[in-house]
Every structure is written in structure tokens, then in C-alpha cells.
């Protein structure tokens, strides 16, 4: 196994291309290192011929705002995302989701890029990014840089030669809420989560973005609930009806060892309703 510490994105791309498909990006280390070490048999990782540690690439941790778009480097950690003034100001939903991720030790090292690449259906930051209409910036040595909606990024197989470099979040004045339901009260992947951003036009909903975690194979947008909410006035009844739509039509949950599909639908209904209440400014709606 070979190990590299490139200092530039292009360097990293060359390496990923050269060793594809057996090159792995090392970011926070909470996922890759784990996968390498917790194999229950002891076969050498024949298939990991190159580890590319991208943490020496300063460009990947930059955070900037140009008035319309917030750009967050893929290596920005959950801790940084929860505290950085630009992210708190222009992507508060991301800051909230980041502060609920795992525990302090994980937040110190877990990166936004790692969260998006994890493929977990309830990844906190990913779910929040979907509700921000975020775009993933991807560098690829063959095809040049591309930009993909986060909602599409999380459900597609990514090309092992490409590198997620940054996430773009359009600025908005939306009112936001992030709720997650766990078995215990902390330090756990969500069973189901709801990230909500609502833009109000006077007393009607101009746009609503509702992202669901744990309700499908990847985080998804509740498109039916969103389009129903457009033009409605922000009320308890609207929240109730929209959340019913989200549960019945937008969620596609599976039953697994953690929870049944029926219960996940119930959680979608409850969490979306409460998150909408919060975004509408109706009252503080904690899950517990």
C-alpha cells in the first residue's frame, strides 16, 4: 500500500487516476481507517493500493462568501461548520446539523466531504445540505470540474477518480429547523431526520425545502410536500398536511434492525410537522 500527501488538488487527481480503482481518499479518518481496521477476517487490504491523504491541500478547507453563494471546502469539519460565522449566517441549517453530529470527538475530525461521501441514508450534514439546494463541486482529471446537486450526489455512485472539493450553498433568508430522532438521546446516527428551510413571502410560503434522512436509501427531498406548501399560509394545518404528504408519498423507508418502515413513516410525519412549526415560528419544537 502506498501513501501520498499531495499539496494541490491536481496532484491528488493524478494519484487517484493512476491508482484507480484502488485508491482511497483519506479525509477525517473516521470512516476509511475504520473500514481498513475492523475487517473481521485478517486479509490484507489487497484492494487498497494507494491512500491519498488530502488534508495537506489548504484549498479544501477554505470557506468564502461572495454575496450570493457560500462556498465550503470539503475538508471543513463538523466543528468548524457549527461555529464558523459565515456558515452560521448563510447556511444556519448546516451549522445546526453539524452541531448535532456524533459527539465532540467526532465533530473535531469529521468532514463535510466525508459526510457526503459516506452514503449513509441519515447523514446529518448531507441531509441539511439537500435542504439548502447545495451543489457539490467535483474535480476530475479527465473531464474538468463539474457541479452536481447534492441530492443527486448522495444517491449516485461516484467515480473513484474524482475528488469532491467544495460545496456551494446559495444564500437565502429561509427560516430553518433541523430535527433528528435517535434511540438514545445523543451520539447516534438518526433513525429519521428532517431538515427544513422555508422562505416566506409576507404571509405565504414562497418556497419550502424539506430533506429527509433515514427515509430512503439516501437522504432525499420531500418534493410532494414541498410543492404542496408553495403558496399556502404557514399554519399548523399546513404543517400537518404537508408532513402527511412527506410521510405517505415522499418517504420510501425500509424496515431494518433499527426500525420498521411503518415507524419511519410515522417519524417523517412527526419530525417534518414539528420542523415546519419551528420554521414557521410557531413554537420551539424539540423532538424530546
Amino acid at each position: 500500500m502506498q501513501y501520498f500527501e499531495p499539496n494541490f488538488v491536481d496532484e491528488a487527481l493524478v494519484l487517484l487516476d493512476r491508482f484507480a480503482p484502488h485508491a482511497h481518499v483519506l479525509a477525517g479518518g473516521s470512516l476509511l481507517g475504520l473500514a481498513v481496521r475492523t475487517r473481521s477476517d485478517s486479509r490484507a487490504i489487497a484492494d487498497a493500493t494507494a491512500i491519498v491523504n488530502v488534508k495537506r491541500i489548504p484549498a479544501l478547507r477554505e470557506i468564502s462568501f461572495d454575496g450570493a453563494t457560500l462556498t465550503i471546502g470539503a475538508l471543513v469539519t463538523a466543528r468548524e461548520a457549527s461555529m464558523h460565522e459565515l456558515i452560521r449566517a448563510h447556511a444556519p441549517l448546516v451549522a445546526r446539523a453539524a452541531s448535532s453530529l456524533g459527539a465532540r470527538q467526532l465533530r473535531t475530525v469529521a468532514t463535510i466531504g466525508g459526510n457526503l461521501c459516506s452514503g449513509h441514508p441519515a447523514a446529518d450534514i448531507s441531509t441539511a445540505l439537500l435542504a439548502c439546494d447545495a451543489r457539490c463541486l467535483i474535480a476530475d482529471i479527465a473531464s474538468g470540474p463539474t457541479s452536481v446537486l447534492a441530492v443527486d450526489f448522495v444517491r449516485a455512485e461516484s467515480d473513484p477518480r474524482s475528488l469532491l472539493t467544495a460545496i456551494e450553498v446559495p444564500a437565502s433568508a429561509a427560516r430553518v429547523a433541523y430535527l433528528k430522532m435517535q434511540t438514545r438521546r445523543a451520539f447516534e446516527m438518526a433513525i429519521v431526520s428532517a431538515a427544513v428551510a422555508v422562505e416566506l413571502d409576507g404571509s405565504t410560503v414562497r418556497a419550502a425545502r424539506i430533506a429527509l434522512g433515514g427515509a430512503a436509501p439516501s437522504p432525499v427531498r420531500a418534493a410532494n410536500a414541498e410543492s404542496w406548501l408553495r403558496g399556502k399560509s404557514p399554519s399548523g394545518a399546513a404543517a400537518s398536511d404537508a408532513s402527511r404528504l412527506a410521510a405517505d408519498q415522499d418517504a420510501a423507508p425500509a424496515s431494518d434492525a433499527h426500525a420498521s418502515a411503518e415507524y419511519r413513516r410515522q417519524l417523517v410525519h412527526v419530525l417534518v410537522e414539528r420542523a415546519l412549526h419551528e420554521a414557521f415560528g410557531m413554537h420551539d419544537a424539540a423532538v424530546r
Binding site: G33, V36, A103, R104, Q105
Partner: protein
């Protein structure tokens, strides 16, 4: 094999590590600092918590290469050079914040780093900050009492908000 300079408890230690070798393995096996414990190896118990530039991380997941020229604080680095316990350590003794002691090094470092950022945490803030450190023995109530006592001691000694551990004179990279 990668050469790495670890600034452990204020001293520079040169080691040669494998790329995915964890900081936990390097601390315990190369440097003989066995105060940091392995409880699960997967980042789910916090027994291996150490501080990197004052921030808590699970050493079992942290690649040692990423600690190059950064301040690493382990439990061995909290007491001062004369052997005086850090107020968090004293508080854990006086307020009965431990039983078997296996989670204790990680718990103490987590608490110390919390108090550096938040010198007077509420119960809720303290519990939330320690959520990543699992204790099976105490039920946590005496641990939270120890955190509050440590906060009081630090204030009393004029050390509220002080970063725990020793800093190396030469550190950091861009």
C-alpha cells in the same frame, strides 16, 4: 513509512509510522504512554480521547500522520511538572467521579477541553459535551459534579478558560 514529529505533552517526539497507523497505537506502543486506553477502536466510546491543539479526538481513529507538528495532550500531560494535579484531576478524586477508572483518562481530557471553552457550563452543556465518553460504572452524576467542582477550582485559581496541557515551544504548520 512516514516520519512524524509529535509534540506530546510539550515534548517533541520523532517517530516513524505507517500511513494508517493510529495515534492511539503510536502513543501506547511507540511512546509507552499507556494512560490512553482502547475501549472499542471504532470511535464509539471515547476512552481513547486525547486533545489535538486542545480539541478532543478519538485517538483510535486519528491517523498519526495527521498529528505531525501538532500539540497532543494525553492524560500524562495534565499534571504540572512538579506533579501537581490539574484541577480537573483533583475534582474527579474529590467528587468521586470514577470507579474502575478505564474511561477516566478520556473523560478527564474531554472535561478539561470543555472547561477551556466554557468555564461555567450548565448541567446540560456538561452532559452534552461528554456524550462521546461512555462510562459504565458511575451513572455520570458524580462525573458532572466533578466537572462543576473543576470549574470552581479553576476560577478560584484564576485559571478559568486556560487551555489544558503543555504546549511545545515549536509547533504548527500553516
Amino acid at each position: 513509512m512516514q516520519p512524524v514529529t509529535l509534540l506530546v505533552n510539550g515534548s517533541a517526539r520523532e517517530v516513524v509510522v505507517e500511513p494508517l497507523q493510529t495515534l492511539l497505537a503510536v502513543l501506547r506502543d511507540h511512546l509507552g504512554l499507556t494512560g490512553t486506553k482502547e475501549g472499542c477502536g471504532t470511535g464509539y466510546c471515547g476512552a481513547c480521547t486525547v486533545l489535538i491543539d486542545g480539541q478532543p479526538v478519538n485517538a483510535c481513529l486519528f491517523p498519526a500522520v495527521d498529528a505531525d507538528r501538532r500539540d497532543v495532550t494525553t492524560i500524562e500531560g495534565l499534571a504540572d511538572d512538579a506533579g501537581m494535579l490539574h484541577p480537573v484531576q483533583s475534582a474527579f478524586i474529590e467528587r468521586f467521579g470514577l470507579q474502575c477508572g478505564y474511561c477516566t483518562p478520556g473523560m478527564i481530557l474531554s472535561a478539561a477541553s470543555l472547561l477551556a471553552e466554557n468555564p461555567q457550563p450548565s448541567d446540560e452543556q456538561a452532559r452534552s459535551a461528554l456524550a462521546g465518553n461512555i462510562c459504565r460504572c458511575t451513572g455520570y452524576q458524580t462525573i458532572i459534579a466533578a466537572v462543576h467542582e473543576a470549574a470552581r477550582l479553576l476560577r478560584e485559581q484564576g485559571r478559568a478558560g486556560e487551555a489544558p496541557g503543555k504546549r511545545a515551544p515549536i509547533r504548527g504548520r500553516a
